[in-house]
Structure formats: structure tokens, C-alpha cells
């Protein structure tokens, strides 16, 4: 049972039950919707970008524990990051959950995101963890996904 507990760590369960920054953002400069048709996970990520700095992040949607907690923790870790730092963090996070790097090599950079280390033992769940990040990247780069702030 040990690796189940490693997957569903206390921090993950906490963010599943009480997702942070879980709301729409009326003044968002960027937003995109992500959908995983395989399991029905659906998230919308909102970003407020000032110059090249992310000043606010939020999300809405419904998904499994891994997806929801990943989105919640992502919103916290992106605030005050530069856009290219955010993209880079996504790369490191993806490497972590896919088992391409060891957690201790990246722990500083990832900080609390390291709680997702256990995902590597569950290849079917990698997409759940990365969906919010893909969506964030889509929001920042996809032209069509940019919304006007009226």
C-alpha cells in the first residue's frame, strides 16, 4: 500500500478537497480550457499577465484528485513568475511526473510540486497531473485562447 500513499499524499488530498484559487477571473489576460476525454477531466486556467510577469492565476473545472490538486498547486507556484520561467517549470514538472529526473535534483525549483513524485509509478495518471500545465501553456501561447478584458 505504500505507493498508494505516496500518490495520494496529504498535500494532494488537502488541495483536492479545498482547491486554492478556484474561481473564474474576470480581468484575466489569458485563459484556456483543457479537456482529457479519456477520463473526463476538464479545467479552465486563467492568468493575469503584466508585461512578462504572471501576477495572478486561477482555475475552474472538475477532475480527479491528481488533476484538481495539480491545478491548485500550480496556481500557487506560478504567481510572480516570468512567462519563460513558467514554461520552464512546466518542463521540470513533466520530467518529474514522467520519472525522467529524480525529485532531489529538482526539489528546489519545484518546491511543493515535488509531492507529485508518486505519479511516476502510475503512468496512466501522468496526463491528469500535466493537464492543468498544458492548459496554462496553451493560455499563454495560443492566440485564440486569449480573452479580452473588456
Amino acid at each position: 500500500m505504500t505507493d498508494l500513499r505516496e500518490l495520494y499524499q496529504q498535500v494532494i488530498l488537502d488541495h483536492t478537497k479545498k482547491p486554492r484559487n478556484f474561481h473564474e477571473m474576470a480581468n484575466a489576460t489569458h485563459h484556456a480550457e483543457g479537456y482529457n476525454p479519456l477520463c473526463g477531466d476538464r479545467v479552465t486556467v486563467y492568468l493575469l499577465v503584466d508585461g512578462d510577469t504572471i501576477t495572478d492565476v486561477s482555475f475552474t473545472g472538475s477532475g480527479c484528485a491528481i488533476c484538481t490538486s495539480s491545478a491548485s498547486l500550480m496556481t500557487q507556484s506560478l504567481v510572480s513568475k516570468k512567462i519563460d520561467e513558467a514554461t520552464q517549470l512546466f518542463g521540470t514538472f513533466r520530467d518529474l511526473v514522467m520519472g525522467n529526473v529524480e525529485a532531489d535534483q529538482t526539489i528546489d525549483e519545484l518546491d511543493r510540486l515535488a509531492v507529485f513524485t508518486g505519479v511516476r509509478e502510475f503512468p496512466m495518471r501522468v496526463k491528469c497531473a500535466t493537464l492543468p500545465w498544458h492548459t496554462m501553456k496553451e493560455a499563454l501561447t495560443g492566440g485564440a485562447a486569449t480573452i479580452s478584458t473588456e
Partner: protein, 426 residues
């Protein structure tokens, strides 16, 4: 020389019981995979609606074909080709008898349910549908019985109509009767829902459709694994199912169609085997069933499917049905007794499919935690997004049972469900 076709199951192997007592352990021994472990626990395979496991007889028949008589069929005079052709056509005969079609000309081999439906849509549909005509499906159809009709309606200007379902997962038959009209050309309905488990009253549905002159296609993918089907007694125009859900190989399935209807239909695909003669001026199509079987077919799949129905035919159908009913009742009670579990699909007429959601636990997490305990269930939308929307759930977990499952396995399922709840309560 004797024919090396090990395509029939010896009595001793398959006859687990006669006279009502079902020896499930004896049957389990026929399925090699059921002995394996997953994550250090004995496999509890409850994903039979996705695909069923294969008895050793089927696996051996596949092996034997490749080991001893692999050849292309219908086209060689040599010995192996003759043996392959014979085995292939014998399999067709077995299927014909299994579903009680009136002739082997009515048994078309296809890749599966999906291809069977697409064949009817592409051939019969294109020939017979005009703008303003109507195709009737139900709210509980698998995507494979929705999308081909949507595509056809787009091409022809016909209109797709949907029969609603109620909160327990039963078809609204009053609405069905109201939706039928002289514009209805085809009713395409699932026999047993892969999500809700509901067994639909297809006999009555067919009779009503015929009264307005509509044809009926029955998607039997989830029906044939649970009970025997007599297409003549049903009176359906088309019946489709997949071999892999019927304890046979993947990549093979059956389209049954009434001969006169198939006869009038244009071919679905062109190529070898479906022709009598070809010239650049004029090509003569082959007779049924070959008209619809262009190209080299899934020979070994067909042979394997024939062996699967032999195997099923040798089981005591009454005992099997009683065993599955017992499992369904037992499993329903077990899951309903767990606080926070809600079953979706609670019709009285139901096959052994238990589809459920757990309050506060997403189906995908349930699937991972169950898998950890060696329990294989399906999670997600089960290729039935309209059903998910109808019950307002993003995804569900589904335990779908076969005759080789046991009460003990359902206890393991219930234990794992409790554990999943525990993880999220902690």
C-alpha cells in the same frame, strides 16, 4: 489425412455442469489469465464489458491455425488454403446456428460492432435515406451507434431523433412510440446498455418500428455475452456484435442481416473476394455473404470466434444465467450498503453490470485505487457521453461481470471501494 482443426471443444473441458449447479471454479480453470496476479494480488477482472477473457480452447485454436494450417482462403487449390477456407466457413456456420440466422448468407464477418454499424450506415443508409427521413436512436447508445448515424444524416439530410431514458436507466417507451412515424426509416437501439446494464425490450421495439415500415438494427455487443440471442425470434433486420466481448479474439465481429435486405444493399468496400469478375467495363459483385467481405479477412479471428461460441454452447445456459443473476444481486447489495456509493442504472431488467459513483471521490481515482488491489474496472465515460450528461456525472466506475466471476471477487471489490473512500476521508 485428418483435418487438424481443433475448433471444437471437447465435452469434458467445457461442460462445467448440467442440471443447474454451476461450478464456477471449474469454469475459471478454462481461462488461463484468471490465475495471474496484479500488483501482488490475485487478478479480479471486472472489466468484461470492455473486453472479455479468452478460454484456453480459443487461444489453442489460434495457435493451432498459425502452427499448422496458416494460408489465405477462398483462393488457393493447395491443401492448406483448403483447410483454412473450411475452418473459416465452419465458423460462419457455428455463428449462424448460435444466433439462429436462417442462412450463412446472413452472417457477415466484420471487425466488430463498430464496423458492423458503419457498414449498415454506409451501404443501406446511403441507399435508402433521403432528406427529411428520420433515424431513431436512444439516449443510452454507445458512441459507435450515434456517430455513424450523425455522419449519415449530414450526408443525406436525414434527421437523427433520440428516445429519452428515465432516472433508473429505462427507455421511455411512450416517447418512443410517439417519435415513430412514417418518416422513420431506421431504429438503431442497444440490446443491453454497456453503462447502465439495462436490457431493452427489443422485441417490442422492433414490432412497433415495423408497423411504421422502419427497419431495426440491434447493437448486441453487450447482450450476447450474457444470454443467447435468436435473431429470427426477435425479428430484427440487423444485429451486430463483437467477438472480443464474447470471449473470442479482437478484430472480429458479426453483422447479421436479413437476406433480402442484404441482397438489395450495395457493397460496402470494393476489392478482392467481393467480386465474381472484374473488367474495366463492368464488375460483377459476389454473392452473399462475400459481397460484404472485401479483402483478406481476419481468418484466425473468425476461427477463434467459432470456438468461443462452441465453448459457450457447451455451458449450461440456465446455470450460467442463474449464477450471473446471483452475482448481480449480491454485488448490488454490497455496493449499496457502502455509504457514499450511488449506483447508476437500476432497471429491473438488467445484465450483470454495476456502474457507480462515490461521493467525493472521482472515478479515475477509484480506478487507480482498485487497480492497486488487483481489481480491474473501467472508469471514465465508457464511450457514452450523453449518458454521463443525462445523470450529470463526469465519469463513473463500472464493474462488469462475466460468468467466471465470483462472490468472493465482489467482496474484494467492495473492500477496495471502502479503501478508496478511506483514502479520501483521512
Amino acid at each position: 489425412m485428418t483435418v487438424p482443426l481443433e475448433t471444437s471443444v471437447s465435452e469434458s473441458k467445457a461442460t462445467a455442469s448440467r442440471g443447474g449447479v454451476f461450478d464456477v471454479q471449474k469454469v475459471r480453470a478454462d481461462f488461463p489469465i484468471l490465475g495471474r496476479e496484479v500488483n501482488g494480488r490475485p487478478l479480479v477482472y471486472l472489466d468484461n464489458a470492455a473486453t472479455a477473457q479468452k478460454p484456453a480452447a480459443v487461444i489453442d485454436a489460434i495457435d493451432s491455425y498459425y502452427q499448422t494450417y496458416n494460408a489465405n482462403i477462398h483462393r488457393g487449390v493447395h491443401r492448406l488454403s483448403q483447410l483454412g477456407t473450411q475452418a473459416y466457413e465452419e465458423a460462419r456456420g457455428k455463428i449462424q446456428r448460435y444466433i439462429n440466422a436462417s442462412s450463412t448468407r446472413e452472417v457477415i464477418f466484420v471487425r466488430g460492432t463498430t464496423e458492423g454499424i458503419n457498414l449498415v450506415a454506409g451501404s443501406w443508409g446511403r441507399e435508402n435515406l433521403r432528406a427529411g427521413d428520420e433515424v431513431l436512436v436512444t439516449h443510452m447508445e454507445h458512441h459507435s451507434n450515434i456517430v455513424p448515424w450523425q455522419m449519415l444524416c449530414q450526408q443525406t439530410g436525414a434527421v437523427l431523433k433520440v428516445v429519452p431514458i428515465d432516472d433508473r436507466g429505462r427507455l421511455d417507451l411512450d416517447q418512443y412510440e410517439k417519435l415513430l412515424s412514417d418518416r422513420t426509416r431506421l431504429v438503431s437501439v442497444v440490446h443491453v446498455s454497456n453503462v447502465l446494464g439495462t436490457i431493452n425490450p427489443v422485441r417490442r421495439i422492433i414490432d412497433s418500428a415495423h408497423q411504421v415500415g422502419a427497419k431495426v438494427l440491434v447493437d448486441g455487443a453487450q447482450a450476447v455475452p450474457h444470454f443467447s440471442v435468436d435473431v429470427q425470434a426477435l425479428g430484427c433486420d440487423f444485429y451486430v456484435f463483437s467477438g472480443h466481448k464474447l470471449f473470442g479474439p479482437t478484430g472480429i465481429g458479426v453483422l447479421y442481416g436479413q437476406e433480402a435486405i442484404l441482397e438489395a444493399m450495395p457493397p460496402y468496400q470494393g476489392g478482392g473476394d467481393m467480386i465474381k469478375s472484374v473488367s474495366f467495363d463492368k464488375t460483377l459483385y459476389n454473392d452473399l455473404p462475400y459481397k460484404f467481405e472485401a479483402g483478406t479477412p481476419h481468418i484466425v479471428g473468425t476461427i477463434g470466434l467459432g470456438v468461443a461460441v462452441d465453448y459457450l454452447g457447451a455451458l449450461d445456459a440456465v446455470a450460467v444465467a442463474r449464477h450471473e443473476e446471483d452475482l448481480l444481486r449480491y454485488g448490488t447489495e454490497l455496493l449499496e450498503s457502502i455509504e457514499g456509493v450511488r449506483l447508476i442504472g437500476t432497471a429491473d431488467e438488467k445484465a450483470s453490470i454495476l456502474n457507480f459513483v462515490i461521493e467525493g471521490v472521482h472515478a479515475h481515482d477509484v480506478g487507480t485505487i482498485l487497480d492497486h488491489g488487483g481489481v480491474a474496472v473501467r472508469t471514465g465515460h465508457h464511450c457514452c457521453q450523453p449518458v454521463m450528461d443525462r445523470y450529470d456525472v463526469p465519469a463513473t466506475a463500472r464493474a462488469s461481470l462475466a460468468f467466471y466471476n465470483t462472490r468472493g471477487e465482489l467482496d474484494v471489490l467492495a473492500g477496495a471501494v471502502r479503501e478508496a473512500i478511506g483514502v479520501f476521508r483521512s
